[in-house]
């Protein structure tokens, strides 16, 4: 997986720096707590939440267990509906396919709707190297792109920026990309949104090529689904003549009916809404409506390696709702950037090391970026047992080097960071106590390394760490 945050320090160092950043911490805390509380209300409206969650898990598990079959079926359906399917084994291949498709249209700019998969492969940078400008059109992604920044949250990628910072970025950067921000732009969110609307409108109207990801692909019908709020997705999916969608192979679901589960669980878990403002669905191409040409690029890039791990493969059930970020005490303090990839928070801690392997320091430290409190598992709409996978990956990291190995040392540092951060620990303790009663969990063993012992973390005396914190902070 490319799209790495180049020169990224390992988790403990990056997290330590994030904790020093007061603005970042305040913004993150506000964001995660607000969404977390709203989510609980949205979920409580459905008396059958547990059944929906179980069905979502079962649909994904069934699909993964016959993934080859459903991918072939999807390919047939999309092709029959007038689309063209491409297969990309890794990031480089996906980038090359997309760049070639864009070049074949004769265009040198594309509009993009926020997509984790294209961030994962570093598509914008790859296109830039080929002389193709890729414009992000999601408001938060626009803020990130104009600010030459990295996203820090799956759902609200610019959550580390406050309104004054955003106004300054718009004022100084918009003119270099197109329509400048109005001279008298203030920092009111409504005005900032209006500036983005005007800035992007000219790009949408002239766009000939759109690039997207997808939340779901239906094998039996060939239908792709994009869930969004702002309407920039609809613009990118509807106005251009050519549409290229880059989608991870795990996004396939077998049937049209399966959508009834995820269209109930995703919006409520993600934006805490009964339904998000806009969902687009398209099947191949339609005469006189939307793009005339549709390309689907199916992306592996480490997913089949993840599938091969019987414990770790459950990470492929993820529907990228970001609920696990918003309840995670470590994410709240470390911030999204500390995770060193486009997938932050608990899901990033289990997905990134599997997609990329644990050879680099930041990736080897990720499985330790957790107090194993289990809050992420409780909110996950597809019931991914993130703590179970974390412990499993810790064993792998510990096994690959041996005691005193470079990667083990960095892992110890990450664990120490979590232990030494009293606020992380305190929340961890509280949630763990509550969760464990509901979900008694097995600790994988035998052969569990010393790291498995950190499962006992809530029983450790917290006081000495708080003393340490006070001493070190002053």
């Amino acid at each position: 997986m490319s799209g790495t945050f180049v020169g990224m320090p390992a988790f403990p160092k990056a997290a330590h720096e994030a904790v020093q950043n007061v603005t970042l911490r305040r913004n993150l805390r506000h964001a995660t707590h607000t969404i977390r509380d709203k989510r609980a209300v949205a979920v409580a409206e459905l008396d059958d939440w547990d059944q929906l969650r179980e069905a979502g898990k079962q649909i994904k598990d069934h699909t993964l267990s016959r993934l080859d079959h459903y991918l072939v079926q999807l390919e047939e359906s999309v092709t029959a509906a007038g689309g063209t399917v491409h297969w990309a084994a890794d990031a480089d291949e996906a980038n090359r396919i997309v760049a070639d498709l864009v070049k074949a249209t004769g265009e040198s700019e594309v509009v993009k709707v926020k997509s984790m998969a294209t961030q994962e492969i570093g598509l914008n940078e790859a296109l830039e190297a080929e002389g193709i400008a890729a414009y992000e059109t999601d408001l938060a992604e626009l803020i990130v792109q104009l600010g030459k920044d990295r996203p820090s949250h799956i759902l609200v990628p610019a959550i580390h920026r406050n309104r004054e910072e955003i106004r300054d970025i718009f004022r100084s950067e918009m003119s270099a990309w197109g329509r400048p921000a109005p001279d008298n732009l203030t920092d009111s969110p409504a005005e900032l949104a209006e500036a983005a609307r005007l800035h992007l409108r000219e790009k949408f109207l002239r766009a000939k090529v759109g690039i997207s990801g997808a939340n779901f692909m239906v094998a039996e019908t060939g239908t792709l689904v994009v869930v969004e709020s702002e309407g920039n997705g609809r613009m990118c999916l509807t106005l251009p003549e050519t549409l290229i969608s880059v989608v991870g192979i795990e996004k396939v679901v077998p049937t049209w009916q399966d959508l009834e589960v995820f269209l109930q669980t995703l919006p409520r878990s993600s934006t805490a809404e009964r339904m998000n403002p806009y969902t687009s669905m398209w099947t191949g191409t339609t005469e006189a409506d939307g793009p005339k040409t549709f390309h689907l690029v199916l992306l592996d890039n480490g997913r089949t390696a993840t599938l091969a791990d019987e414990v770790g493969r459950q990470a492929l059930r993820c529907i990228r709702c970001s609920a696990c970020l918003n309840v995670c005490p470590v994410y709240e303090r470390a911030g999204g950037h500390a995770y060193g990839s486009v997938y932050p928070g608990p899901i990033g801690a289990i997905l990134t090391p599997q997609l990329r392997g644990t050879q680099s320091e930041v990736d080897a430290s990720l499985p330790y970026a957790s107090s194993l409190c289990g809050a992420c598992y409780d909110v996950c709409p597809v019931a991914i047992d993130i703590p179970e996978v974390l412990v499993h990956l810790r064993e792998q990291v510990a096994d690959q080097g041996g005691k005193g190995h470079r990667l083990e040392k960095v892992a110890i540092k990450a664990a120490t960071w979590v232990l030494d951060n009293p606020a992380v620990l305190a929340v961890g303790e509280r949630v763990a106590a509550k969760t464990r009663k509901l979900h008694p969990r097995k600790i994988p063993g035998p052969g569990a390394s010393q790291w498995t012992n950190s499962r006992d973390l809530p029983e450790m005396p917290a006081e000495p760490f708080r003393d340490w914190w006070k001493k070190n902070r002053t």
């Binding site: 059958d48 610019a158 702002e230 309407g231 009964r274 339904m275 005469e287 006189a288």
Partner: protein
């Protein structure tokens, strides 16, 4: 068609999947013991729920009898000082019979369905037979459409590009969208009840309130790129 340059990657990825699964058994099909609906089967209550949930997401909801519909639509367009309205192919001509503003008729060639005549009536400002360009839509103030189905529990209207609903771009670029829902046969209670009414081969837009963003400090702002004003007119028998 699969592009030839990726055919070896296709084989490679499928082989990797098969190796990863190592002939393990298929995981069971989903049990689906969730509810088909969360709402009692009472049409009046379901309509009230739709009304409430649409309004909760800041759509502006109206109720009217069929006979009053042209008056209601004309009044809404006037309220917003709309000078022009996009008209999707197949929209019942009566709906806009009360509106005294410029009608821009869009023609959608080749869509299946009963294709009610989309010939521009006399007085239209542009020739029949041409789809509106994105730039024309950008200078059009409003659009009036019907819908395929409306979902009460989520406050959602679904458009499937059928007659009177238009191409997807029509309900995207103009800043005001007025959507008419027939209470008698277009309203369902839940998401599971909606899917059987929808044809996956048609392009769909599910709309739940006007375009919105919470990207700036989580303050909700209505309308970034889609229509900033959404009116839903529920047509009832009374």
């Amino acid at each position: 068609m699969t592009s030839s340059t990726t055919s070896s990657s296709r084989a490679q990825i499928l082989a990797r999947v098969r190796t990863a699964l190592a002939d393990g058994p298929a995981a069971p099909l989903p049990s689906r013991d969730y509810f088909a609906s969360h709402t009692p089967d009472d049409p009046a209550a379901i309509l009230d729920l739709l009304h409430e949930n649409l309004a909760d997401y800041r759509a502006i909801v109206h109720r009217t009898a069929e006979s009053e519909l042209p008056t209601v639509i004309a009044r809404l367009l006037e309220q917003h000082d709309a000078a022009s309205v996009a008209v999707p192919a197949g929209l019942p001509a009566a709906w806009l019979s009360g509106a005294k503003i410029q009608q821009r008729h869009d023609v959608t060639a080749g869509l299946e369905g009963d294709g009610v005549s989309s010939l521009a009536p006399s007085g239209s400002d542009r020739p029949a037979g041409e789809p509106l360009t994105p730039y024309e839509l950008d200078t059009t103030d409003a659009v009036v459409t019907g819908c395929a189905v409306a979902i009460a529990e989520t406050g959602t209207i679904v458009l499937d590009a059928g007659p009177g609903q238009g191409r997807r771009a029509l309900t995207l670029v103009p800043d005001i969208h007025i959507c008419v829902v027939r209470a008698a046969d277009q309203v369902v209670a839940s998401v599971p009840q909606s899917l059987p009414h929808l044809d996956p081969t048609r392009p769909q837009t599910w709309i739940s309130g006007p375009s919105a963003t919470s990207d700036i400090e989580l303050d909700r702002v209505e309308g970034v790129h889609g229509p900033r004003t959404l009116h839903v007119v529920l047509v009832t028998d009374e």
